[in-house]
Symmetry: C2
Subunit: 335 residues, 2 copies
Amino acid sequence: MSTVPENAPEHCPGTNSEAAGKAEACAGCPNQSICSALPKGPDPAIEEIKHKLSNVKHKVLVLSGKGGVGKSTFTAHLAHALAEDPEKQVGVLDVDICGPSLPRMLGTEGETVHQSGSGWSPVYVRDNLAMMSVGFLLGSLSDAVIWRGAKKSGLIKQFLRDVDWEGLDYLVVDTPPGTSDEHLSLVQLLTGGGAGQGAGIDGAVIVTTPQQVALIDVRKEINFCRKTGVAVIGVVENMGEFVCPACRKPSVIFPRTTGGAAKMCEELGETFIGTLPLDPRIARSCDEGKSFLEEVPDSPAVKAFRSIVKKVVSFCETNGQMREDETGETMMDTA
Amino acid sequence: MSTVPENAPEHCPGTNSEAAGKAEACAGCPNQSICSALPKGPDPAIEEIKHKLSNVKHKVLVLSGKGGVGKSTFTAHLAHALAEDPEKQVGVLDVDICGPSLPRMLGTEGETVHQSGSGWSPVYVRDNLAMMSVGFLLGSLSDAVIWRGAKKSGLIKQFLRDVDWEGLDYLVVDTPPGTSDEHLSLVQLLTGGGAGQGAGIDGAVIVTTPQQVALIDVRKEINFCRKTGVAVIGVVENMGEFVCPACRKPSVIFPRTTGGAAKMCEELGETFIGTLPLDPRIARSCDEGKSFLEEVPDSPAVKAFRSIVKKVVSFCETNGQMREDETGETMMDTA
């Protein structure tokens, strides 16, 4: 078991790998001598997390290559949309340690987390929508979290192991941009590096904007999913078009120089699940901690968004591979 | 000497600190036992980097809290603008290891780096504009760099120590969003944690967009600069306004719900150095690897941009605290 598959050349084999510190990729890594000396073997937290999350049916990651493409906005509204069904329990986990936006977007800024007998209690946005973010652990909103990767990974482990969600239908995990510590830790701790070994992940939604500099990074993110065995639920193209409020003429702010996300998905054999327009009312709703779905229910953006959410739900229900084991406990199989 | 100041509570004291592994902040950190065992003392690379960069007059960091605010676009065009003076030598260092956009934006995608007797040779955009990026070290554009923080820090050290810039007036460093490994390593290696100990940094330009969720992260970034002793040259507000190409009416895409960057700067006592409009031709120029300054020289965006560049240059020339030491060698003093 390792944090990245052993067939990944030129990349870190993961600190748990037998090859840690010895692989070709380790040459020049400042951690090489440390890695060689670490005790090897599966992290016992993987089993603890599997147990803790055994009452969480679906786990969805929201990823992006580039930052600022609307990942947290998407996460917040996916959670709002899922929680519109009062029968469903929804949780949101914000692992963007250095730049947590979700407390602001979900209107829970300034809330604090309480410790209970069974772990950390999440903050409730409404009855059936709970969330956890590093934002709740800071003294002030301006506090910078100046942490290196290892410490960020430690907090992610705590979040996964110690938050008491009390049973969820969906856990949506918002991530920072890139393919580094936060992503490796999440995937390693949730999948244990292989089939059935961890709590499991249904798949990842990848958010992008239409221009080529964003798409280059999305290809890297898809590559990351393939290497770590995380299913790609689909790619969402955000900020596709802006309709001038004065003359109603559409403009493309981030031009599809190379055909946009749809063409990229076609090339790579991935699923394109929709385009969202750029609507200033979305940013405003996020700043005010409100749901855009409720603020402007009839807008084209909301219609496009609902169609995307349907596809995500359908993927999870079809491919999530739910199974009831003998004890009647619901478990995920992410083989 | 440490990677973060010793008065930073609840944060990592830095791997070089005497308190590494022992501080209150270290409780729960998975690296705690490793840190306690590491040899302490200043990293010898700080002195090597100081020597290597002794012929680089000004060093400017481009930072942002949130991703996708136009940091790399700003960096590319700051470099283009500085290099318009044929007497000036300009270098760009891209330390966004997981999402390097600059090779695309500066039209050098697919170039490779050569090894020379005195180090790595940068890639030349034009005679007086050189650059280095992890993008040049990848086999394919889609390759994901799945690296944890320690390995990213190792590459940044190599970039600072081994790239042979052959003398520069300006070195502009583009960073990923956030306040983590890349930022700590850069600041530690360039300043050595204190006055005159490293090669030095003139200051940082902080790029943001106008909405509150971006400004929250900018406050964290300013906090980071204050804690690490990096001067803030000023805050740039990007994507301020969009002028509809059909009816010429301006729209604000990311509303200034809380007054925007200018008001924030006033509150924090930082310098606001300008607003840039959202112009789709900027994204297109970046996708095509061209300079927006040359493509649409008379646009309002270019005029606004040139005014910002002037302020950055003026800051560096006034506050860069150049001094000639006895040997006639030019050195920076970042006290």
